[in-house]
Symmetry: C2
Subunit: 323 residues, 2 copies
């Protein structure tokens, strides 16, 4: 970490070495979704083990536990993808994991987390942090936060290293934002390696706490009654993390929001034109590219397709154009 408390390129490069045996290096794929001036490439973290980028941060955090911490196991709260990722990272490390999930989390994510050997505890969305605190006090398990954590941010930042290595000429990178773990790490990596590249965050309008906070000049929290309504179930967090807020202020050029219709439309195009299965949250960056071409620099754009864990029924609805 730098003296300012922000994650450094060295932290991210160390994370890359640490997690390499446990994660996939995902492909950067040309698509037909952009324009001639701003061709869009998809960084397909939907093809990551477990179906999302989250494995990177979880693996980096678990790899740095002491022997005593390993013996007590790990715990977290998550709408699903971080849960699966921590369960997988814990299983690979041979330690126990407990996951507190909102009872609104998709069944496919609950089932996948259990199948990876984690204990799953379901609570109301707003009660997640309190329940984690209660269980920590009971069991001594180590909390691995989903985003507001330097080790998690450094792990997610390895996506940025791969993007710059695969497409050194990129002009813009577009990242979905929920708690801010992915954009914090990616922005730190890209800013260090390719300072001229524009880094853009995208939120659903219904969960636009970061864009709102940037407009007001300070971090804000949105009610779960608002954020819980977006189709992008991975992006329903009520506020970016404190450490994430500081990374965004330091490294991110702009944050835009997209409508629910734009998310559905982008998801359909990624599937039918890009031939990649994505979850709603995984379509938000592409939706940002399509709805806000003005924020893109001329030149190649990398849009993060951050995950592919979608309920079959929703996938069918989106493809059929019903939803």
């Amino acid at each position: 970490m730098g003296t300012d408390g922000l994650v450094t390129l060295a932290d991210i490069e160390a994370a890359a070495r640490r997690i390499a045996p446990a994660v996939r290096r995902t492909p950067l794929l040309a698509t037909s979704l952009g324009s001639d001036d701003t061709p869009v490439f998809a960084k397909a973290e939907s093809l990551q083990l477990g179906g999302s980028f989250k494995l990177r941060g979880a693996t980096n955090a678990v790899a740095q536990l002491s022997e005593q911490e390993r013996a007590r196991g790990v715990i977290t709260h998550s709408s699903g993808n971080h849960a699966q990722a921590l369960a997988r990272a814990a299983r690979a490390a041979g330690i126990s994991a407990t996951v507190v999930m909102p009872d609104s989390a998709p069944a496919v994510k609950q089932a996948a987390t259990k199948a990876l050997g984690a204990q799953v505890v379901l609570v109301d969305l707003a009660q997640r942090a309190a329940e984690v605190e209660r269980l920590r006090a009971d069991t001594g398990a180590v909390f691995i936060p989903p985003f507001d954590d330097a080790a998690v941010i450094a792990g997610q930042g390895t996506v940025g290293l791969e993007i710059v290595a695969d497409l050194p000429e990129l002009a813009t990178v577009v990242v979905p934002v929920s708690g801010g773990g992915l954009i914090s790490g990616v922005a730190a990596a890209v800013r260090a390696l390719a300072p001229a590249v524009r880094v853009i965050g995208v939120e659903p309008e219904l969960a636009g706490d970061l864009a709102d906070g940037l407009a007001r000049g300070h971090r804000v929290t949105w009610p779960s009654e608002a954020t819980g309504r977006t189709i992008a179930d991975g992006l329903r967090v009520q506020a970016v993390g404190e450490l994430n807020w500081r990374h965004v202020e330091a490294f991110v050029d702009a944050v835009v929001t997209v409508s629910e219709d734009a998310i559905r439309s982008a998801m359909r195009r990624i599937i039918l034109e890009g031939k990649l299965v994505c979850e709603p949250s995984g379509a938000v960056a592409v939706a940002g590219c399509l709805e806000h071409p003005d924020v893109l620099a001329p030149g190649p754009v990398v849009a993060m397709v951050s995950g592919g864990n979608v309920e079959p029924a929703l996938l069918a609805e989106i493809v059929a154009g019903v939803a």
Copy 2:
């Protein structure tokens, strides 16, 4: 070409140099579809420009036309993916293209071919060759066959070069078979570069003319009433080509068949677990891996996901588990 008339490694390497500017180098992706002994990797030609491997062969054939031939334009018949590919290759080369398609071809493939600037002529499945012959006589257009052609085979064989480069330790490669263009080229490349690798062909049971012919010791033709019934609309050809038959005899270890249920099930798993959109024909190689593990050598398996051009309604049905 070798003295035996078969495509050589040199032909395929020349094709790779010729087509490199016009095609994508597709990723080889780890999946969770195999077993510990036979992990399955997907060669995702669904992510190729136009959504299938066919662009490779068409581009290689068009690149070798004389100036006089270019002036007369090109013509072919195809159930869809070769049509799109030839249209795209012709457009890139600045020449005209005519495509004769069966009137049963998916609307999405007809529309895509027209959108690429080709003239589309619809006829009954069994009348395709005769209609091409009539139009050739009228216009002097050069026939670019979908599979029974050395330049097309060499182009498709470039997939084999990429597989061996990306996974030198592969033990088995599994390829869907229709007319035999893809398996001919891939088998020629793999046999030359990695002689110990097993090369397996897979057909739908309803279009099992190659497996049938191999059992009888000679090439056979199946009625279109049979082959027309498989969900794998890209594999409804009634007989492998003559040149393709000779490549299969020389280079392929075994050909197996899969049921319609196995194709649907494999398609669903590729989409929901592998996170790749595929068409039914593109799922046939994975179906072969899942239904016939006995034909796989111990070690990594590469299954060709040959295309991703599927009607949205069918995709929705398969995902929902209705079909």
